[in-house]
Symmetry: C2
Subunit: 232 residues, 2 copies
DNA sequence: CGGGATCCGTAAAGATACTG
DNA sequence: CAGTATCTTTACGGATCCCG
């Protein structure tokens, strides 16, 4: 099952043999973010095929990176990182900071689509900073093609946010009108929210309390702070 | 030229896209160790084919990880790491420590041959700790197949050590008789030199001054200290 | 001899369909 | 929901050849 080993004495090469197979690190990241089910991982890591995800999870179990837990009652299967995998956390964060500093922004923002962005933002909403009720936020992206350019994000106190791609019928508390490029730039710390609103690249309308506190209820990427561009 | 991107927002995935292609990190490691020429890199990274090394070096230039310098006079070509690549150093060292701690020793010592070991040790000889003259050390590995089980390592003050696979004809200052498994275990900090000599798994004969100071003139892997096994 | 390019067989990854 | 099965495409490995 494992690839041909490098045959070198440096332990780094042994780490490479375990971590380099495509999607391995992305799967670990998704588990780190709290996903535990097969199809949950799939949604968080769009682009991987079911066959390859299945194969990787088996390999990662064999390497001691992932634990598979089956509930004998329901038959449900959950995947978790092992302690060995958790010990990579600091290294992966350092790697993210390195990438944020050394890989150009334009490259880093290519090839991302609105649905992946929304799935990422979904976990970044702090419901404690929103009114203690159900809140419906409608995102519309001008640079995404119509069938997939509008998303409804629904929050309830104490529950994870939900994403809808069709109108759930609720009244909208906040309308967000922007581009995928702008929104992901803000998330990654490459653009400032206040500046983008000021310059007219991001429009907010609806409940003014929610609009005014967007910098509080929207958590940015942990890599946002590293960014090298002038944030003045 | 680049592989299909992951399409995720996490900067770690961007780092993966640059560093995951096979041999990329091993090439950086060899450049870090001081190799600069195409065929020098090949010897330090046995297993990579010439075609793939050539292709990788081009990709790594495009990514800004490697700089290619051609001497206009001689036409000689040297490769160097860029600053961007050097900023990975601490992360790669941390990854090596992680591997040393979390990947089992038996696995880590598989699939290594005597010639790769000797090529590694060649750079680990501190000639200041040896007599100020030419010294000839003969390594013989009991667990390697005969045509490739004997190596002559020749040191001269102030010069890099040389490896010979056939008898250079000089008098031998020190004979080292052991197994590849034992010698690489010592190098990686998984076995103690004194213990291996004591227990008869490594024999030294010849110049007693050189034999007695082996722990000084043989530098171990930078990962040797992390090792989790009892070193008592 | 150093620094590659070319060709071909195999192994890994991607796309899609289907199943208990 | 949690995967298999199958087919196509791309990447890698190994050998050979080339050129200044």
């Amino acid at each position: 099952m494992p690839r041909k080993p490098y045959g070198l004495f440096c332990p780094v090469s042994k780490a490479c043999e375990e971590l380099e197979p495509r999607w391995t690190i992305q799967i670990l990241g998704e588990l780190w973010d709290g996903s535990t089910r097969f199809n949950e991982i799939r949604r968080g890591v769009p682009g991987i095929s079911t066959g390859l995800l299945s194969k990787r999870l088996k390999e990662m179990q064999a390497k001691g990176l992932v634990e598979r837990v089956e509930d004998p009652a329901t038959g449900a299967i959950d995947y978790f990182r092992t302690k060995k995998a958790e010990e990579l956390d600091d290294i992966l964060v350092a790697l993210g900071h390195w990438a944020q500093k050394n890989i150009k922004a334009e490259i880093a923002l290519e090839d991302r689509d609105a649905s992946t962005l929304m799935w990422t933002l979904r976990k970044k909403i702090l419901d404690e900073e929103l009114p203690k009720k159900r809140n419906v936020l409608r995102f519309n992206f001008g640079d995404a093609l119509p069938p997939c350019s509008t998303y409804w994000l629904i929050t309830k106190p104490g529950e994870p946010a939900e994403i809808c791609v069709s109108d759930p019928g609720f009244d909208i508390d906040l309308f967000i009108e922007t581009d995928v490029t702008v929104m992901s730039g803000i998330y990654l710390g490459r653009r400032r929210l206040a500046r983008e609103i000021e310059d007219g690249r991001l429009f907010l309308s609806g409940d003014a309390r929610i609009a005014k506190t967007m910098d509080r209820w929207l958590k940015l990427s942990v890599y946002a702070e590293t960014d090298g561009i002038a944030l003045a």
